[in-house]
Symmetry: C2
Subunit: 552 residues, 2 copies
């Protein structure tokens, strides 16, 4: 029995386009003589469809598309397993359809609905309660959807009166974050061992707002080893032949086993920085293109954040589609202005310079008329950032550029930014990347380009917002190594200040950082979307009240 796993890059809401893409992968599977082809969770609607699922006509359109798909696949002798949003008299379900010979043969309804982190599935769906087992050419196959397999014990309860399972199919829409693929290997591996069977894991690929799905569909054998794995961050289709083993293996058992799969998985764990980089490129590309932007603009400050953002944008959209803009004031050093130009040149981008001093002076003259206005300090620093934000947005409006915001997770966490200033923009590529990781990305970018795309001076200069003379980030913030440790503990691990201090972090700094994080929730609420790469990103992943007097 030959099984194919398809990982298409579909788009939320584009039911017609998604079905077209499903048919392309179906044809490819047919050419390879597959007996069954599996598509990801909610592949027809795209994932996550969020509140589109509250529209009954959206669900109807899912059903209509599924019926049409069944007909369009009728002429080939392949079973299609595809995720769709189902409505039946009992309610709404996150379902997997089994199409065969032009008909909807079976439906499996997801039983374990994730409702944590970025997931809101209990907002939309009821839980299914029946296992679906199908026999394909002698192979007993159980269908599951994503979260279903993250808790093997309930599966075993559910299956206690069922025939032996040879193969578990899992249709997923599992978003990327650092360490997620290792987690999947671990969980699917123990699932395979637990049931002593083969696993076929099919995952979505592509960017959807703040999420990137990394693909890497895979087959695992009954020992829990990955036999083959599809591409990361790209569309792909992989196949495996599953046949009765001879029983000549170590334990002498006769099983349905993978006897042939096209692509062998690399045993090595992926490099985190490489993974992050590819996630950011795919997320940026898909956000831009799926929202009909072909061009982007990045404000190049001469710092590392904007340099990394520009490099990601160029990889995502092509250097001919990315514009670099520098907006110097009297506070920018000649070196940073030069570095901005060098980055643009190295990336082969269009580069523009618009000095902000004349406009800034205009504001100063106007605000001088306001009693109490002081033309220095934080209000004046913010003003500079807002003049830049306004210029960027003006060019965006005039030339239909997507403005790529350049803030990193560390500064967003502590609110070291100007609302409507450097926070302005449509998409924030490195929003979830801690500053210490931004430096690693810079090194990685230089490595893949095999030359110093991002100049040494950019990475070695002490970070500065350059909003006053000789300003340094370290005037206002702890060093980034320390800051990022505190932020990880507080934001990702939900530690209290007490616990962080017990870990050996300095109490005064911990308490100051926590105050800054809590105080700046209002700024984050208005921040552009950006790509989740950590286990807990700002946005839908971390839902904190703005009005909040809790102080631990």
């Amino acid at each position: 029995m030959k099984i194919a796993l398809a990982q298409p890059n579909v788009t939320v809401g584009d039911i017609e386009g998604n079905v077209k893409k499903i048919l392309q992968f179906f044809s490819q599977a047919a050419k390879l003589d597959a007996d069954v082809v599996v598509f990801p969770e909610l592949c027809i609607s795209g994932y996550p469809p969020e509140d589109l699922l509250l529209k009954s006509h959206f669900i109807e359109d899912n059903h209509l598309a599924l019926e049409q798909l069944a007909k369009d696949c009728a002429d080939k002798d392949i079973i299609v397993c595809v995720g769709f949003a189902e409505k039946n008299p009992k309610g709404f379900f996150n379902s997997l359809a089994v199409l065969q010979a032009g008909h909807l043969r079976k439906i499996y309804r997801k039983i374990i609905l994730p409702n944590y982190g970025v997931f809101d599935e209990k907002r939309y769906f009821r839980t299914g309660n029946e296992p679906v087992i199908i026999n394909i050419k002698g192979v007993n196959v159980i269908l599951t959807i994503c979260e279903d397999v993250w808790q093997p014990h309930w599966l075993s309860v559910l299956l206690k009166d069922s025939p032996r399972v040879d193969l578990i199919i899992n249709a997923s829409a599992s978003p990327f974050h650092i360490g997620k693929i290792q987690q999947r290997h671990r969980i699917l591996g123990s699932l395979a061992k637990y049931f002593d069977c083969t696993i076929a894991y099919c995952n979505l690929v592509g960017g959807q707002d703040e999420l990137v799905f990394d693909g890497r569909s895979m087959f695992l054998d009954h020992k829990g080893d990955v036999v083959s794995q599809a591409k990361a961050f790209a569309e792909d289709l992989i196949t495996a032949d599953i046949e009765k083993s001879t029983g000549g293996k170590a334990d002498g058992k006769i099983r349905m086993e993978i006897v042939n799969s096209k692509r062998h998985a690399s045993a090595a764990a992926p490099d985190d920085i490489e993974d992050i980089y590819h996630a950011l490129v795919l997320g940026t590309r898909d956000y831009a293109l799926k929202n009909c932007f072909s061009k982007a603009i990045v404000a190049l400050s001469g710092g590392v954040d904007s340099a990394v953002t520009a490099a990601i944008a160029v990889d995502a959209l092509g250097s001919e589609n990315v514009v670099g803009l520098t907006m110097p004031s009297q506070f920018n050093s000649p070196q940073t202005i030069k570095d901005a130009a060098v980055v643009a040149e190295n990336l082969d981008m269009e580069f523009r310079t618009i000095p902000i001093t004349p406009v800034l002076e205009g504001f100063s003259r106007t605000l001088a008329g306001v009693e109490g206005w002081v033309d220095k300090g934080i209000p004046y620093e913010n003003l500079q950032a807002r003049v830049r934000g306004t210029i960027l947005m003006s060019l965006s409006n005039q030339f239909s550029y997507l403005v790529l915001t350049t803030g990193n997770k560390s500064e967003i966490a502590v609110g070291y930014s100007t609302l409507y200033g450097d926070t302005a923009g449509g998409f924030a590529a490195i929003k979830d990347v801690p500053k210490t990781v931004v430096y690693k990305l810079a090194d990685f970018i230089n490595k893949i380009h095999q030359r110093q795309i991002i100049p040494k001076s950019v990475c070695e200069r002490p970070p500065s917002a350059e909003l006053r003379h000789n300003q340094k980030d370290s005037d206002s913030l702890p060093e980034y190594d320390l800051l990022d440790k505190i932020l990880k503990g507080y934001i990702e691990d939900d530690k209290s200040s007490k616990e962080l201090v017990e870990q050996g972090l300095p109490q005064d700094v911990v308490e100051r950082v926590i105050r800054m994080v809590d105080f700046n929730e209002y700024k984050r609420r208005q921040y552009p979307p950006g790509i989740k790469i950590t286990p807990r990103a700002f946005g839908r992943d971390r839902r904190m009240p703005i009005t909040n007097l809790y102080k631990r």
Copy 2:
């Protein structure tokens, strides 16, 4: 048996302050010789605590506060029912503690967890599964929390082997929207009739980010009639005596009945516009004060949105704490500039004028250097709005003003606004108010002030953004009467374009409006928070993808 319902205005995360407030209400109940005093759902933590609930030290602090509260209430012979976030070996629960004589006597755990609209309770809590019935001076009381009573049939299943219930206590945190109080009356009324018993409904009051809790705790008799109701949009405490009836009533049955309650409810349904106004005032006041702003600034354009926002701010914070700012350009008519000043004068606010033309000309000169920049059209209109946004934010930074954004729901829905321009600000009081309702609020404001606070010319002039000569909203948008009908159908009722057209709305306009709503999700994502007053507000209440190709 005397029961008291307390509706304090607590703050999320302020565990210490909330307990202090609970003790004040406790003392008041003690003075009135109450046998039991009921507090709202999650009263100790504030509602909704959102992801604070993921911090285990936050839950621990809830428990510690509860223990302390039990001790602090020990010297009076009153039972206290108070909502708190509970952790026990089975998981986390949304619970109601019964405190008596210094001890935690019982715990009821919420069974029906709402996970729709603004509610995410399944993200945090497990469902309870046991009814808790206590006997207070011969009265059999069942404890319930909020959503529990919205489906009476499950309660009856749960209670089938229990003794007769005389009184249902419901501790709620039920946010306001138009029509919600009528809905509560209906649901609680049918609950009373279903169980043939008295209802004591205790609701929270106060603003929390986008939500306003309207209080109106109440007692209903077994016929489902409201016997007494606490204040709307203000702290309050009401009591009732519940005693065995004589059986001399119409049906001759002997019941536990309300024999005395201090405040009689008005039989009349509240006026929607009055309710909305009070919700907006309370929501604005609480957002400002709970976030430590004592002063606010409003950009007065001479239009109705900013006039209404200013009136709300003055009512919320006092006229001495609200500053009006007008920022005229060459496109503002003398009449609108004058109207802005008249509104400020009528509201007795400080009023400042900062013309934007010099700064705007500075931008024009600077942008003239960019090939392709055209100093007119939408980019130039947006530029004007962003200059104003920047000035407002500069004053906010300099003088610690909360900037009140003035956009209404209709324009936010269709994106008729400039990101970082007129959308800039900390809080958007009328964010969820359709334009047609803004006019009604203007009339209401004039009515309560008993004079023309908002001049006739403001309400009668065709709405205009005044970003070019002779501009009118109707150049770009359908008339607001029609627009608001389409928006209600599309946003609140989840209707498709087809269904809206079948209702008699013009197809071309419907399709254009839907396109505008969908296209502008990205602007809404960066909009300041504002008060929910409709059954579906933008924000946590309506979670739509930005990347979304669905077009119906």
